[in-house]
Amino acid sequence: MKTNRKAEHFVAPVEETPLLATDAVKTDDAPLSLWADAWRKLRRRPLFIISAVMIALIVIVAVFPGLFTQVDPDNGCVLANSNGAPTEGHPLGFTFQGCDIYSRIIHGTQASLMVGVFSVISVLIIGVTLGALAGFFGGWIDTVIARLGDIFFALPIVLGALVLTQLPLMRENRGVGTVVLVLVVLGWPQMARITRGAVIEVRNADFVTAARSLGVSRVGSLVSHVLPNALAPIIVLATMELGVFIVAEATLSFLGIGMPGSVMSWGNDISAAQASIRTNPAVLLYPAAALSITVLSFIMLGDALRDALDPKSRQR
């Protein structure tokens, strides 16, 4: 409503708010790429530091178990030591079979980690390829891949693994390979879904259209612009899945359909410990703790990465 009330005309002294040049480029601080920015954020997070150190340690244990224990985990078992308490040189005591628990945990690291790493790499290759194709090209490719994913997705991982491991072929060759195969067959749709979503989000960005109008081919723009920008959620999921797959392996081994008994793995040890759980909980608790700490490290790393790579925290 316009009134004819007289108002005074106020002007602030220019010195109070000196005019800046319109849209000047700041030149003071160093240039920062998104990865460098994420790294800077990560370095300050205790969650990241703890999990990174833990993972480094676990990898060293897996690769060089001999550095941590001299005791033979398999053949050094003496039945006289059955369910024995910790003694000199055997800090965690003995299993029902009289084997050294500490040594078995150290030597079991390798199998768990190998299953996790191989599964994640395979899931990345299959899931990212299919997800990126589906998301980027859309149309019938998307429909086929999405429906295929739905079918595998409707098979809960343990149930699917039960069926898969019943196959004679799988039964006869049980080992790291079959467990990885089961996890990959049932695990790829999740990765494909995440990739597809991330790719769709980037696909229609103006910078992709700009690249296309520069003469970059469709596949070229997918590889050089879309995928690098869709990477953050993929990295986060891959890190978390490493943990999830290690748990899955242990669960399958616990159910007796994972690693064969001859392979030393935490899952097998926990499964074998059921018998003596009431008399000697240590047999169960120590490998369980090793398993949980490993998984926790990967989940924590994924969580820290998610925060650091979150596009929402990037924008100024």
């Binding site: 316009k2 108002a7 602030a12 109008s213 612009h225 924008q315």
Partner: protein
């Protein structure tokens, strides 16, 4: 009303006592890098029934000041000093309980974005009802319908049963206005209430808002970035810059006689107030008339008569899925024909859904026309082979609207500008670097920008990088799709100047897609007005602005904020 005539309003405020008075207000935010002052020494006064506008660029503190007045600062913000006096009561540190009493009843709010401010899972009527209920007013279906009808929503009783996603943007904004005014507050805070809407809708809604508030005697605090709109709608204008109030006064006086250098700058660049084509070309020795009348160009541009682009009977039909395998046709572009002369700027103007961007996509050969031809330099682009398309891309380049979306965040500026050279295998590494440096000079960015990443630059700077990338291949035609729409006024003027300067220096042809007629006037030689896929009017910019032939064009022109202000020409 005179000062001696102390009348008591229905609500009990003497008419000469300010309804809202902000004194020395300071607001600070706690961020990761410490305390940041967003507002310093802000002050303003709103008398009962008065409309006051705060004008400023993004980051000037205008919205923060308004939010403080209704106690809605974000969690990390706080009032660090000063007072907010509502009818004499300091509410700057009022209890949450007191604020809940005031909100809705005494202070209403109409927020900015109609798309995100209604809860998508509740019916419109429920969202009105809860407002009435929370403020102790009758809230039956009839009351709800009445409130919606008053805000100009047709068929209100039925509409109340619909969800927000069934409403158009304009209707949602009407619903939000209905909510803001439903309890007849004495102060209404309107934060950019129409900036997300098309100009013609914007005009209707602002007219209606003005009518309602003057009937109710409501004071309005209007937040806007548009000086023209502020001057047209408010009694007083307060100009904010970097958190400070730099100037305040009666609207017209402030426009005609701006005192602070910032206000002067703002008045000079406001597109809605400017009336003529940017004069850079003139200063560089090319008469403005030469730009407007093709064929009279200097020796530098021998081919002004040549139609570099001919759009002939262009149509685009999209198939929309309607579920169960059925599909309906949607004609986005309907039989559009126009020519673009080399070295000139042709603007395509239209509101959302007019098909203007679809035309741009087809000209860029990113979308296939359903029918019709696009003839570039004598060749129909729809029949090009892949290799020819690749060559075509060197000659026609785009600049997009969103400065945050048009640069790959993973590429630094050097890689961004170098990419077209690399893709087209032009030069070796050293010569490409030299070219990138030249391009940065051309768009007035320091060469040190090369190592930076897009997220470190402002919107205007990103847009200049996008221009440099578009220029890298020495194109003949540049398609600007809303290239300056997302920028603040001053930055917008700067980028428009840069574009004009580059055109006169390099003889570029621009096809300028925009919804903003005010910008058209500043930059274009020719205008094509589109409505719902059809071309409704074409002509030289002066013809269209001085003597529009179609009602739609007239309505568009009339809706430019500030268009009706009578200003002496030297101000504009």
């Amino acid at each position: 009303m005179t000062t001696s005539d102390v009348t008591i309003h229905e609500a009990g405020t003497p008419a000469d006592r300010p309804l809202l008075e902000i004194r020395d207000l300071a607001i600070s935010f706690t961020t990761g890098s410490g305390e940041v002052q967003a507002v310093r020494n802000a002050h303003l006064t709103i008398m009962p029934g008065e409309t006051v506008a705060i004008v400023g660029e993004s980051g000037s503190g205008k919205s923060t000041t308004a939010l403080a007045a209704i106690g809605l600062l974000p969690g990390n913000g706080r009032v660090a000093g000063g007072q907010i006096l509502l009818d004499g009561e300091d509410i700057s540190h009022a209890s949450e309980k007191r604020m809940i009493e005031l909100r809705g009843n005494i202070i209403g709010m109409v927020p900015q974005d109609p798309m995100s401010n209604l809860n998508p899972v509740w019916k419109i009527g429920d969202q009105v009802k809860e407002t009435l209920k929370a403020n102790g007013r009758p809230s039956g279906p009839d009351d709800v319908a009445k409130v919606l009808a008053q805000a100009g929503l047709p068929d209100a009783a039925r509409r109340a049963k619909q969800y927000p996603h069934e409403f158009s943007g304009g209707m949602r904004q009407r619903a939000l206005i209905a909510i803001g005014l439903s309890c007849q507050p004495r102060l209404l805070i309107a934060d950019e209430p129409t900036s997300a809407l098309d100009v013609t809708v914007q005009r209707q809604i602002l007219d209606h808002l003005e009518k309602m508030t003057s009937e109710l005697g409501t004071s309005v605090l209007l937040i806007t970035h548009d000086l023209g709109l502020a001057a047209e709608r408010a009694d007083k204008v307060v100009v904010m810059y970097r958190g400070n109030v730099v100037e305040a006064g009666p609207s017209l006086e402030l426009l005609q006689n701006p005192q602070h250098p910032y206000t002067q700058r703002l008045v000079a660049s406001a597109p809605s107030l400017a009336s003529r084509r940017i004069q850079v070309a003139k200063e560089l020795g090319v008469a403005t008339n030469d730009l407007l009348v093709p064929g009279d160009g200097g020796a530098a541009k021998p081919a002004m008569t040549e139609d570099v682009l001919q759009i002939q009977n262009l149509s685009k039909v999209f198939k929309l899925r309607a579920g169960f395998g059925k599909s309906t046709d949607f004609t986005a572009v309907d039989d559009v024909s126009f020519n673009v002369k080399r070295g000139t700027t042709t603007a395509i103007v239209g509101e959302s859904g007019s098909g203007k961007s679809t035309v741009a996509q087809m000209v860029l050969n990113l979308l296939e026309p359903t029918s019709g031809k696009i003839i570039f330099d004598g060749v129909d682009t729809s029949v090009l082979k892949p290799k020819e398309i690749f060559a075509f891309r060197r000659r026609v380049q785009p600049i997009f609207q969103d400065p945050y979306g048009s640069l790959d965040p993973m590429y630094n500026i050097y890689r961004t500008i170098e990419e077209p050279l690399r893709v087209h295998k032009i030069g070796d590494k050293a010569s490409r670097e030299k070219k990138v440096r030249e391009l940065l000079d051309q768009v007035s960015l320091p060469q040190s920008t090369m190592q930076r990443y897009p997220n470190e630059l402002s919107g205007g700077q990103r847009q200049r990088v996008a221009i440099a990338r578009a220029l890298a291949l020495d194109p003949e035609v540049i398609i600007c799709d809303e290239a300056v729409s997302a920028l603040d006024v001053l930055v917008q003027a700067q980028v428009l100047n840069l574009l004009a300067e580059l055109q006169s220096r390099l003889g570029l042809t621009y096809l300028f897609i925009t919804h903003d007629l005010a910008v058209v006037r500043q930059i274009a030689d020719h205008v094509c007005v589109m409505e719902k896929g059809k071309l409704v009017e074409t002509g030289s910019t002066d013809e269209v602005f001085e003597a529009p032939q179609r009602d739609y064009t007239k309505a568009l022109l009339n809706a430019i904020p500030g268009a009706r202000l009578m200003l002496p020409p030297e101000v504009a």
